[in-house]
């Protein structure tokens, strides 16, 4: 379904922008349904902005902050975890008979359709869902040469954040267990499951480094890294006004309105987090730190 959107994507997440659009009576009456085949020529039918950069992440690590800082630039369109791209990526496993070339064409078409300029923007950034780093090679095949970031954070902080308010990526079954090498469904109920999922994102980023054009950004370097290393990496012009806009965006707490503390925090939370981080995440975290803010050519 296609809604008309005249205003920029300013909310922290695509879903919020879509919801705003669908509250307008025009879209309630005239939102248009098409088949996926409509994406076949979407990339060539109307002017679109070629992607300038992709953002991957391990979850709860500052990637939304980066997206919001980029969205503060008048020259940029930022798509933050767009559900339509998630749906297409899921088709890779959900419809295994679908030719890869068709899926690539639809993926390009969807990025093109969502990323059209509305106010003369010239740059397009996509922040993907955390699990999409598992499919980084597919995304890189769709858009060869587009630089990408992987954002990461000290794993105990990530696990504590997830324990307070678990993201959908940590719900058992939201990600095909085959990505995690899980054969036995009973493992989905394991207390380690969430840490294994997050570790799989880090492992995938390290593994897919070979794709090239990647940069690893440590949460500890935010927000400063966005106006320095990241801007340089994404070839952003860095006027004083743009830098100021990004700093102002960084001051807004993008997720404050979205998160609520869990009513029943686990009693043994600290020990559990420590055990899971040490077992699953310390090694990839150390490897990521060794690569941090180093562009991979």
């Amino acid at each position: 379904m296609w809604a008309r959107l005249d205003e920029p994507f300013t909310e922290p997440f695509f879903e919020q922008t879509a919801d705003r659009a669908m509250r307008r009576p025009f879209n309630q009456i005239f939102a248009r349904r098409t088949s996926l085949a409509a994406l076949d020529d979407a990339a060539t039918r109307a002017p679109a902005i070629p992607p300038s950069g992709f953002i991957f992440h391990m979850s709860r690590c500052g990637s939304t902050l980066i997206a919001q800082m980029l969205a503060g630039l008048p020259s940029a369109v930022v798509l933050s975890e767009p559900q339509p791209l998630d749906a297409l990526i899921r088709l890779r496993r959900g419809a295994p008979n679908l030719p890869e070339e068709t899926l690539l064409r639809w993926f390009r078409g969807m990025v093109s359709a969502l990323g059209r300029p509305r106010r003369g923007e010239q740059r397009l950034f996509v922040k993907f869902h955390a699990w999409h780093v598992l499919e980084l090679p597919f995304i890189a095949r769709a858009f060869p040469g587009v630089p990408w970031l992987f954002v990461f954070r000290e794993p105990r902080a990530v696990l504590r954040s997830q324990a307070r308010n678990a993201g959908p990526e940590l719900l058992a079954g939201m990600i095909d267990p085959a990505y995690l090498g899980i054969q036995d469904p009973a493992e989905l109920a394991s207390p380690d499951y969430g840490a294994r999922v997050v570790a799989s994102f880090c492992d995938a980023a390290l593994r897919h480094r070979a794709v090239g054009r990647g940069m690893f950004v440590d949460y500890a370097a935010l927000p400063g890294a966005v106006t320095s290393h990241v801007s340089e990496f994404f070839a952003l012009p860095r006027s004083a006004a743009d830098t100021q806009r990004m700093h102002e965006a960084a001051l807004r707490d993008t997720k404050a309105a979205l998160t609520a503390p869990r009513l029943h925090a686990p009693q043994d939370g600290a020990a559990t987090v420590e055990h899971m981080a040490a077992t699953w995440l310390d090694a990839p975290y150390a490897a990521l730190r060794a690569l941090a803010t180093t562009p991979q050519s």
């Binding site: 009576p25 025009f26 309630q28 009456i29 005239f30 248009r32």
Partner: protein, 68 residues
């Protein structure tokens, strides 16, 4: 409700970017009346009630999209 009238109007709106832009720019309070007026000009049979019902149905479908 005239489903055919609304479908005919939708086809006109999809084919005419200027018309779409004009209707999209309307304030919510004027939207229903202007849609009916535009429909009449285009000889599509659409009433106030059709518009209200379509909006209510769309709103409900959007709210329930994750659970149905």
């Amino acid at each position: 409700m005239s489903r055919e009238g609304l479908e005919a109007l939708r086809a006109c709106v999809y084919a005419d970017p200027e018309l779409a832009r004009g209707l999209n720019g309307l304030a919510d309070a004027r939207f229903g009346a202007e849609v009916v007026r535009a429909a009449a000009e285009l000889r599509c049979d659409v009433t106030d009630d059709d518009v209200r019902t379509a909006i209510a149905q769309a709103r409900e479908a959007w709210m329930l999209r994750w659970i149905l």
